[in-house]
Symmetry: C2
Subunit: 321 residues, 2 copies
């Protein structure tokens, strides 16, 4: 039985250490967002992800269906990073009393949110298994995802010499967020990128089958999550800024800091090369880009034109407020 | 795969019907608080229970450790009513920023809450598998419990002629609540009853092994939960008010309305009699009392001295605010 607790950088991380110290033998280990439990002849993978109005989403920015989809995709992204196959989800929903009903063009908020939750679950072949509904002061969506993992991939398995790769292109989430904040809401593909992120389930399973040594989803930003993977694996990650695949119009530094990207950062053995990456792209429709390598040492070393540059700040809900 | 959604009486129930209608084929069925999924050679039982400050608990009434214990026990109680064996829990925690720290005699609230969560889990042999920690405006504890069920007991299996039984004694939770509300906080056993309720895991597993046809935990009050069991089983429950086992100082009507009791209401075949009940008590240390029977028809019929009396109101967080 392997325990897990979501670990953001900074203040949240320290807080969780204290909590786990208190748990003692009840909660073992630190690290991955996804817990693994042997059950019958299977390994159950389970993770939970809490989204709060005002912290993780704003009702002025997103439709209720998008809020439900996004919260569910965030939780499913943890299973993707484990190489797990989703089975079902449970969802706790907090809905304010008089709010939302009768707003123009909007149905019952609770129903709309659950519609988005169900659509995200269906998108990856998972069922909505159950839930709890409570009247709350502000909207909240807490999603527990359950899946099975044949070859679970933890954060801790990278070895010096492994290549460091990333799926998709980064920075769209930050660009969309800038748009919302500046009163110019994103449209089209950029809005979808933010409002309906796709958990990389098929990609994660493919990578697990093809030798992934360590994997993490990019929820706190590439630089911050690379730090988590480096710490869990007990080594250093060297990342070349100019190799980071960027969303159109986003600079590499901003792409490396952008949170809630829900792409996968993965350590693959040296033998995994461009030919394997093309096979990945044929199977998943996604780019897979080599951005650096694992080395002895600790922490993340970002380079630009061969020179070390300071790491950008991560994305930390807990410290940000 | 059997789906579930927690169903309170009244407004909450109606709301959930609308939500499930929207889910369509993603969420199948209505009824039990616990979902069942076949996984490997095992049946996984999963349930989620959201506790919010101001709705389900007050920090002025309970210690943070009690808040954590109570939220966890409430979720575990769903597994008890399924006859399931807990394996692990995941918990999402919302903790306000500046509050709680440094209050006299109190440690870090998040750590204290997780201590209570872990103690309740350990009490029934479950592990804390993982969690999520978020800064929130008010405290919240959302607990997802996972277990295995060899002989799952649903709400829907009762048959006319079955006896209706209840574990323990009812009404303590309402009495304690009265005390808190009137400024005379309960002490000793009554406080423990409210602040550290014991999920009836061993009792539920014993009853599942000994022929339980249908089972539900008493979280919304005996009368209301009897109505849920009657509806799910498609029959009527006849309950004799004077047979209800009451907490010292509580009248049967108040005992039948008292919510958050976390005892088990169970339908057992006619052949299950006082001798079997004594065996249950020897095994569990708990009373098991026959309070009525299942009959053709619908709804709950409460009687006093052989005459039908109106049902007391249930306990409905959602309607209460």
């Amino acid at each position: 039985m392997i325990s897990s607790l979501r670990l953001g950088p900074g203040a949240e991380f320290d807080r969780l250490r204290a909590i786990f110290a208190r748990l003692g033998s009840e909660g073992q280990g630190l690290g991955d967002d996804t817990a693994l439990v042997r059950l019958g002849g299977t390994t159950l993978a389970a993770s939970v992800d809490l989204s709060l109005e005002g912290v993780h989403f704003h009702t002025a920015w997103l439709s209720f269906a998008e809020i439900g989809w996004r919260a569910t995709a965030a939780a499913l992204s943890d299973l993707a990073a484990e190489g797990a196959k989703p089975v079902g989800i449970l969802v706790s929903l907090g809905v304010p009393g008089g709010r939302g009903k009768g707003e123009e063009g909007r149905g019952d908020p609770g129903v709309e949110i659950m519609g988005g939750v169900a659509a995200a679950a269906k998108h990856v072949g998972a069922k909505v298994l159950g839930g709890d509904l409570v009247r709350a002061e502000r909207y909240l969506v807490d999603v527990c995802v359950l899946g099975t993992a044949v070859r679970p991939v933890r954060r801790s398995g990278a070895r010096p010499g492994d290549g460091v790769w990333v799926t998709g292109a980064l920075g769209g989430a930050a660009l969309a967020l800038d748009g919302f904040r500046s009163g110019a809401p994103p449209m089209g593909a950029l809005r979808r990128r933010f409002a309906r992120p796709e958990p990389r389930i098929a990609a994660g399973r493919w990578l697990a089958r093809h030798g992934a040594r360590a994997m993490i989803d990019i929820s706190d930003g590439l630089a911050a999550d690379a730090g988590q993977l480096a710490a869990a694996s007990g080594l250093a990650l060297e990342i070349e800024l100019e190799r980071i695949p960027c969303w159109a119009g986003v600079a590499p530094r901003a792409a490396a800091a952008s949170g809630e990207e829900y792409e996968l950062l993965v350590a693959l053995p040296r033998g995994f090369g461009d030919r394997s990456a093309r096979a990945f792209t044929r199977a998943s429709g996604l780019a897979l880009t080599a951005i650096g390598r694992c080395a002895a040492g600790r922490g993340v070393r970002l380079t630009a034109a061969g020179r070390t540059v300071p790491a950008p700040g991560g994305f930390d809900h807990f410290a940000a407020r």
